[in-house]
């Protein structure tokens, strides 16, 4: 299997606290991997390491063939890593449509000069971008909200809009940080179907952090379990379910 993202013995310390310790993690092309663990296990920290928000204290992260050391988040997005946030971070003053439009920066064919001249280039460019945005919004059934303020959406719709916004950057790897949080059972089922669908349609890899076991076990091909920043298990959903270490980490002994 082709490895898309590779973490080799990655550690990060904040003062005396080792948040993530010697983590090895591989994600292959078009693979759906789950990252689970109890609260405070370091899952979001791993996300922040992969997206360049934090730099590892030790170890190496590479994406494709490239090392990702010291790259700023916007450069990693350009390489093809997109993410959603655990605490929703939509652009609050913009409409649903514009939230996604802001994320098409990397792939627009028209720039500042076209915006000032407002000629054919500009109109064509905006039309192409607009069509792409609507296509994505339709997949997530958000097209009817296109002109609403992003903040006026329901919680579940805001989470889905974050996924749309991340997809608009045309990523190779999509990181989803608790996408099912705050959703009801039917919304969760729908979300699982959607994650499968976009993974196949856009041929992307997905790394999923999730608390909801039904979601994780339902769609992930492989699962890595973290506890106190250390990887305690890795394998197929069925293996993880039966792993005594995982049960202990979640339920205590």
């Amino acid at each position: 299997m082709n490895s898309l993202l590779q973490l080799e013995k990655v550690s990060i310390r904040f003062g005396g606290l080792t948040a993530v310790s010697e983590l090895d993690l591989q994600i292959g092309t078009n693979e759906l991997v789950g990252l689970i663990g109890p609260n405070g296990a370091g899952k979001t920290t791993v996300f922040n390491l992969i997206t360049g928000v934090y730099q590892p204290t030790a170890g190496k992260i590479s994406f494709g063939e490239k090392s990702m050391a010291k790259l700023q988040p916007h450069k990693l997005a350009r390489l093809g890593i997109a993410r959603t946030f655990q605490n929703i971070r939509l652009f609050a003053s913009m409409s649903v449509f514009d939230n996604v439009r802001a994320a098409t920066q990397l792939h627009r064919a028209h720039g500042i000069r076209d915006a000032l001249w407002r000629g054919r280039n500009f109109r064509d460019g905006e039309k192409t971008v607009g069509a792409q945005i609507m296509e994505l919004l339709e997949i997530f059934r958000l097209e009817k909200f296109r002109d609403e303020s992003a903040k006026s959406l329901s919680y579940g719709d805001q989470r889905r809009l974050e996924i749309v916004r991340a997809l608009a950057t045309k990523p190779k790897l999509l990181l989803l940080d608790e996408p099912a949080a705050g959703m009801n059972a039917s919304e969760k089922t729908e979300l699982m179907r959607l994650i499968q669908f976009i993974k196949d349609k856009f041929q992307i890899s997905v790394l999923l952090v999730e608390h909801d076991m039904q979601v994780v076990m339902g769609i992930c091909e492989r699962i890595t379990v973290l506890d106190y920043g250390v990887k305690i298990a890795e394998g197929k959903p069925d293996e993880i379910r039966a792993n005594p270490k995982v049960i202990e980490a979640y339920l205590g002994n």
């Binding site: 700023q72 913009m94 802001a102 028209h110 500042i112 407002r118 905006e126 971008v129």
Partner: protein
Amino acid sequence: MFLARPRIFLLAALAASVLLGIFQSQLDPYFVDVMTRIGINIVLAVSLNLINGHTGQFSLGHAGFMAVGAYTAAAMTMFAGPHIMPASAPEFFTALWFLAALLAGGIVAATTGLIVGAPSLRLKGDYLAIVTLGFGQIISVVFRNIEPLGGALGLNGIPAYTNLFWVFAIAALTVYVITAMVNSTYGRGFIATHDDEVAAEAMGINTTRFKIVAFVIGAFFAGIAGGLYGHFTLTISPRGFDFTRSIEIVVMVIVGGMGNTVGVILAAILLTLLPEGLRALGGISPSLHWISESRPLLYSILLIGLMLLRPQGLFNFRKSSKLK
């Protein structure tokens, strides 16, 4: 309205400023004076709105950029102008030279903006405000100590080139450039930077770059406004571009509603007219004389009231989600 036909808006506004320029001599001088100040304030407020409103960076140094532009443009028309063309040169050439002087003022101010902005835009919120505040003070001290530019006394006898045509043509261009730029896929980068820098970066938006672009373009138009101002008052001194001048422009942006261009234009008009209105009110009868006496006090009370009643800006009619 603007966005549907931006270029038609621009052409209409330019045509209107040509008409204003032609008929200026038939207008009441007091009216022309107020109109000129309104136009210059529109340029200043709309350009600061790009930095403080759309991009969400708090700059207190706009008068500093204005000073750079004013001195550069005045130096070009006062010192270089007479060498380049004789006093008998046709009006067209002096106008062209004035345009060159204004552009030079804008470019020098924009370069200053780049030099100040590049290191300091890593700072956020209050810290950036302090740095830009310091920049404003430094500019004022620098000009006070450049003897060829008049030192603390400033420059006198700047040629009276500014007229309603220049003022409103440049105001129209400023509004066009900033609105057209912000209202595009490219321009969403400014708003995204304003809304959430972490999310913007994660979506591939180089927020540092957008901040610097906003700072440089804002400084450019502030510099041009400074050039217009100098050739309108005919005398400039470092004191005219101090902290209070910066605050005046910030107030226009806040009263108009951060990031709301139409609101900011209206606020620039209103806040230029307000002191004039209070002055006129005080002149009606001796019993109302106290009004013109206490203009600064009334102005401040009005501002406080305004902020208490409409913190999202007087002219911001959208449901404000920016207020958290």
